[in-house]
């Protein structure tokens, strides 16, 4: 799973441009006989193997898209202006290497050197409107040979395994969920499983709604990467999750409240099986569960996440044991799910 995760993070899939991820997942399905379908918005829906013992419909969702940038203007001297796609902290952009467009033209995000900044410029945060991507084009005409406005821009950041059981990569939110979901598709389930690799989560949970409307599941489980602020300078009450303490169960967040029965089912499964877990200690942030829950006539939902430091940056970090435990917990909890009844 870790090799697959690393490979997934090397692909670029900014919201609205998820085809590389979709293609990789289809090509790497363990069982080639699994039926899969790509809908009009780009969601990839794979029907899992079932032993037919229950006709309960379970939708598992992980989003394929990642945050990034989009070229919106080319200056006369050939520099690229850009807008963020999804939530990006503009403070992290200076000095970063990027890939622009389908041809993955290399570029860097520059800002005038510190030597040439006045006191005010040195002390304040640089706005995105004052930043440029430089591909070393001579001028606008030269730049237009390689890039166009509307081109997606991804961070250039290779995965690195480091420290003790940690990985650094871009897009761990939510390639981590995709990697777990790909593993789950290798098992045989006692119900109808629909694995949904969704699109456009980062720009407003757009894909999940469409997928849920099509599948009309009884239960929806979202597999996510979530914020992890267990770092220096942060007060204890602001820490939502702690790295290394296991997968995160959310009782509620900004977009949905977990179904109580489902929530306790996961919690009890973790305790019974001795799988480490933690509860998300804040109710901020939202994800696909918000859309799945209110789709159709309503769906019981639940979110399981892996803690992700420096999320939405080119150097997001997660703990490999947290991810293994997430897979283990979701797998165990789902296998006894039909006992819940309806």
């Amino acid at each position: 799973m870790m090799r697959k995760l690393a490979e997934l993070t090397m692909l670029d899939g900014i919201s609205g441009n998820e085809q590389e991820i979709r293609k990789f997942i289809i090509q790497n399905l363990a069982d080639k006989s699994l039926k899969h379908y790509t809908d009009s918005i780009g969601n990839l829906i794979v029907k899992g193997k079932t032993d037919g013992s229950s006709n309960l419909k379970v939708m598992l969702a992980a989003h394929m898209d990642e945050v990034g940038l989009m070229v919106n203007y080319i200056t006369d001297d050939g520099k690229l202006k850009f807008s963020p796609v999804g939530g990006i902290d503009s403070r992290i952009l200076i000095g970063k290497h990027v890939r622009v467009g389908k041809c993955k033209i290399p570029g860097v995000i520059g800002y005038k050197s510190i030597h040439l900044q006045d006191k005010n410029e040195r002390e304040s945060v640089v706005k995105i409107k004052n930043l440029y991507i430089d591909i070393a084009a001579k001028d606008k005409e030269n730049a237009e040979e390689f890039v166009n406005t509307g081109d997606y821009v991804a961070f250039a950041s290779e995965p690195v395994f480091f420290g003790e059981n940690r990985i650094k990569a871009k897009a761990l939110d939510d390639r981590a969920g995709c990697a777990v979901l790909m593993e789950l598709l290798e098992e045989v389930w006692p119900f109808e499983l629909y694995a949904c690799f969704t699109v456009q989560e980062e720009v407003g949970l757009r894909g999940a709604l469409v997928a849920a409307n099509r599948i009309k599941p009884d239960i929806g489980i979202v597999l996510e990467g979530t914020t992890c602020a267990d770092v220096p300078k942060v007060k204890e009450h602001e820490v939502s999750t702690v790295m290394g303490e296991g997968p995160v169960l959310s009782f509620a967040d900004r977009t949905s409240i977990a179904d109580r029965e489902l929530f306790y089912h996961f919690l009890k499964t973790a305790e019974k099986e001795g799988i480490p877990y933690q509860l998300k200690r804040t109710t901020t942030g939202g994800n696909d569960a918000g859309r799945i829950q209110t789709s159709g006539t309503g769906v019981k939902t639940m979110v399981v996440s892996v803690p992700c430091r420096y999320i939405h940056s080119p150097v997001s970090v997660l703990d490999l044991n947290d991810l293994k435990n997430m897979l283990n917990l979701v797998s165990k909890a789902l296998h006894i799910l039909p006992e819940l009844g309806r």
């Binding site: 070393a136 690195v160 420096y310």
Partner: protein
């Protein structure tokens, strides 16, 4: 080896100011095959000597610093985190979400983090995060981390040098490995040229923290003329055009009190004759380069400076044109191979 490969190999070396011993020997191996003698001095300045043909050769030094800006470990924080201080004039705005190597008892990978954006108060979101608000996340448990890393260990940025369009490259430490690359290219050019004077190319240390390598090496070698090769600001969006220079539009030659006017004129003349385009880089005072220290070494050393325009200085996005590096090398090689030193009258 082409210039692209040469620069990339030089940028891969880690030489944070004050810890150039990490790479001095490796750097020496770039000079060794191209000169009569290559050696590392007690301060880890790396020197390549090429003997002149004259019976009474004068001494010319060509310097380019090979140290790089970085950080230094200043403390530990619970959870495998390290506190950091700056080593040289690093722009803290360009550090968040960067990758680093901590040079401890072994090399330790880490990423630079800070308080996450969603937890910042309104006023905090407008101010640039200071060095004291940054930390390195190593991913190791505290006890294991303390076996690998100590306070005072240097930290270098980790970023590749990538090839962009139009013969340009971008990455870390191009300030001033491009200058060091020019030193190697100069030695190569001198293979096929006769030069009357003894020439010393010097990759100097600790420029970023106070010109130390220039001070020590120019004093000990006592040259008759010094040529400094360093980067200057390339043309960047929103930067004052009088202080930066377009890429591929000629070699900026420094003009001002720090530079010997007659030797500078001679440099312009050689450029004109060899049809190497130049630009005029106006430095009304301290240029912030080694020339400032070398000029007043010993009894005073005539000093000139040729530059390589570089965008986004002191970040991992430093961007230069390979042609500029080759042009500066050709210009300086032609210049130092001439019988250029004027004999001065005996004084006291």
């Amino acid at each position: 080896m082409n210039t692209d490969t040469l620069v990339k190999q030089l940028c891969d070396l880690n030489a944070p100011a004050g810890c150039e011993n990490l790479s001095a020997e490796k750097l020496k191996s770039f000079f060794e095959p191209l000169c009569d003698k290559a050696y590392v001095d007690p301060f880890f300045n790396v020197i390549g000597y090429k003997k002149g043909t004259s019976k009474n050769p004068k001494k010319i030094i060509i310097t380019a610093h090979f140290d790089q800006i970085g950080m230094i470990v200043s403390g530990f924080e619970k959870g495998g985190f390290l506190r950091i201080s700056n080593l040289g004039g690093i722009d803290t705005k360009a550090l968040l979400a960067s990758e680093v190597i901590v040079h401890g008892r072994e090399e330790v990978f880490g990423v630079i983090g800070a308080k996450p954006p969603h937890l910042l108060k309104e006023d905090e979101t407008k101010k640039n995060v200071k060095m004291t608000g940054l930390f390195i996340d190593t991913g190791f448990p505290d006890d294991i981390l303390k076996q690998k890393v100590s306070i005072g260990d240097p930290v270098t940025m980790l970023a590749p040098v990538v090839t962009l369009k139009n013969g340009c490259i971008a990455g870390k430490s191009l300030d001033n490995r491009t200058g060091v690359a020019a030193l190697v290219l100069i030695l190569k050019e001198l293979q096929n040229m006769k030069h009357p004077n003894d020439i010393y190319v010097i990759a100097t240390v600790q420029e970023e923290t106070g010109l130390l390598g220039a001070i020590t090496s120019s004093y000990s070698l006592e040259p008759d003329l010094a040529v400094v090769i360093d980067v200057c600001h390339g043309d960047m969006p929103e930067a004052d055009r009088s202080q930066c220079f377009p890429l591929n539009k000629g070699i900026p030659v420094a003009i001002g009190p720090a530079f010997h006017s007659e030797y500078t004129d001679a440099l312009f003349e050689v450029a004109k004759r060899e049809r190497i385009p130049t630009q005029r880089c106006i430095e009304p005072g301290n240029p912030g380069t080694e020339a400032w220290a070398i000029q007043v070494s010993r009894f005073g050393i005539p000093t000139v400076e040729a530059c390589i325009p570089l965008r986004y200085m002191h970040t991992t996005a430093e961007l230069v044109s390979l042609k500029d590096i080759e042009a500066v090398a050709t210009l300086v090689a032609r210049y130092v191979s001439e019988d250029i030193i004027k004999t001065t009258e005996e004084t006291f």
